[in-house]
């Protein structure tokens, strides 16, 4: 039997208040929610500012730069990801402050360490959605 093809990453299912993230992703723009009262960003998208509880937020384009806060190597994957193992998932501390969970694509395990610099890139899931992944920066 030939090696089976690895299915694409499952597509995200947006909510009304996260839609701007996916609209940006389609253009390969990395959009983050920003609290106008405190000047702080937040991730994942929320209906309100987690800093004030108010709805005084807007979307701003982010740099896409970050560092590795922590990481894990997935050896046994959820069913939709079987065949991709092993792969690295990072907790990425974004330059703007919040943390984001994402695959660190193509990373050699021995190069991974806390504080390693990473940058966003986009993986095309289907015609509608690009999904954020990160890669190590030399």
């Amino acid at each position: 039997m030939s090696e089976t093809e690895i299915p694409p990453r499952p597509a995200p299912v947006p909510t009304n208040f996260s839609q701007p993230f996916w609209d940006g992703a389609k253009e390969k723009k990395f959009m983050l929610q920003y609290c106008l009262d405190t000047g702080k960003y937040q991730f994942f998208p929320r209906p309100n500012s987690i800093h004030t509880g108010r709805r005084n937020t807007e979307w701003r384009e982010a740099s896409g730069d970050g560092t590795v806060y922590s990481f894990t190597v997935t050896r046994r994957a959820p069913p939709a990801f079987r065949g991709r193992e092993p792969y690295v998932i990072g907790s990425i501390q974004l330059a703007e402050g919040p943390r984001m969970m994402a695959e660190i694509a193509g990373a050699k395990f021995e190069d991974l360490k806390i504080g390693a610099k990473v940058r966003i890139t986009w993986e095309e899931v289907n015609e509608e959605y690009n999904y954020p992944v990160f890669e190590l920066v030399e």
């Binding site: 894990t72 997935t74 998932i89 907790s91």
Partner: protein
């Protein structure tokens, strides 16, 4: 002076097993029958009911009403507690408040879940669009982040974690209610060589999803004495912290809400960690036990491994740990799992631990851990001090 006005007068748990084909209602019924047997109460004397949410029961939004209906209970106070694995302790604390407030007199606190038979839950209630397409292997992945961060900040001493795993497994061997397959001893090498799931989390770091049920009966101490109850355990301290660090972009993934809940519970009971006779912490992953030791204040942050190696954690040691095997070695009965730690503490304080009975058993610390959030430490942290009556 700690309040001893509320008493736990009975406990019961079922055998823990996998793929039983039994519904959570059936486990609930077995627990109720066992509690009536042990306490001598009539079913209709129970007028309060607090049930932990269940992964196998999530298709009904009326969980507490439906379960108590199945059991034929007419009630003045009825609620579901949904702070994950923290729910059993949360339910006891809420029962204490309801009794003190006169809403009800005798409360049945229940956990019953058939997670391995039927898991109907969507346990990730937060933004699945930023989780599911990433491919994280659920809780082992989340604890992979915690473990690697710990390694980077303090250095992760796997031999200390192995020590915890071996001690708990030794206790499961003596627990007839533990999942039968786990009732064999393991060595530190067995732990270290077990299959990697999500680096550096190994198979023997993880709980096994199982089916089972457990529960306790709570009433005022005055009522218990009037009924002639001769064995009772008093909840004398309680702390709870939910969503610790949620609004802090720089939250420390190694800091759990136990750093708030632990000192609060101890202060209420008028104790320090040095006064504790045993430690029955929620254990979904081995490292969670060590992190709770650090966050509650048994030792400084980063000193968990040294503390573990300086402490005899067996049932005859100076700080007996999860003397029923904990959930990792007795099996995790879904969201009823936290009741495994609770029931064991009550059993020990009533002097009914059998061959694993702790010699000096005047008090115990029990904890809960509930829900795994997006990239933080766990969501819900509870700590309860129990004292023998």
């Amino acid at each position: 002076m700690a309040k001893k006005d509320i008493a736990i007068v009975g406990y019961h748990e079922t055998k823990i097993d996998v793929n039983t084909g039994r519904s959570p209602f059936d486990f609930a019924g077995e627990v109720l029958d066992g509690l009536l047997d042990q306490t001598g109460l009539e079913k209709d004397a129970i007028d309060g009911f607090a049930v932990c949410s269940a992964m196998s029961g999530m298709s009904t939004p009326f969980w507490s009403v439906v379960v108590s209906d199945y059991l034929g209970m007419e009630l003045n106070w009825c609620q579901q507690v949904d702070i994950g694995g923290s729910s059993p302790l949360g339910a006891v604390s809420r029962a204490c408040s309801a009794i003190r407030d006169g809403q009800c007199e005798i409360v049945f606190v229940l956990g019953a879940d058939s997670q391995s038979t039927a898991n109907l839950s969507n346990a990730r209630g937060w933004q699945p669009e930023f989780q599911n397409p990433v491919g994280l292997m659920g809780p082992p992945g989340a604890f992979g982040f915690i473990s690697n961060r710990y390694d980077g900040v303090y250095g992760l001493d796997l031999t200390a974690l192995a020590r915890i795993a071996v001690a708990q497994r030794g206790h499961a061997v003596m627990n007839p209610n533990a999942f039968e397959k786990f009732r064999v001893p393991i060595t530190e090498d067995d732990y270290l060589n077990s299959r990697m799931i999500s680096d550096p989390v190994r198979l023997l770091d993880c709980v096994m999803p199982c089916d089972g049920g457990n529960g306790v009966i709570v009433m005022s101490t005055e009522r218990a004495k009037a009924l002639g109850m001769d064995k009772m355990v008093h909840p004398t301290g309680y702390g709870e912290r939910n969503n610790h660090g949620v609004n802090d972009n720089n939250t420390d993934i190694l800091e759990s809400g136990h750093c708030v809940a632990g000192p609060k519970a101890l202060a209420q009971a008028g104790m320090t960690v040095d006064d504790l006779d045993m430690f029955q912490p929620y254990d979904d992953f081995i490292i969670a036990v060590m992190l709770q030791m650090e966050n509650i204040g048994f030792c400084e942050r980063g000193q968990g491994a040294a503390f573990v190696k300086d402490t005899d954690l067996t049932h005859t040691g100076n700080l007996p740990l999860n003397t029923s095997g904990g959930q990792i070695s007795a099996g995790q009965a879904g969201l009823a799992g936290g009741g495994t730690n609770l029931v064991e503490a009550v059993r020990q304080l009533m002097g009914e631990g059998g061959e694993r009975q702790v010699a000096k058993a005047s008090n115990a610390m029990v904890t809960g851990i509930g829900a795994i959030p997006y990239l933080r430490n766990w969501s819900c942290s509870t700590v309860m001090i129990l004292e023998a009556g």
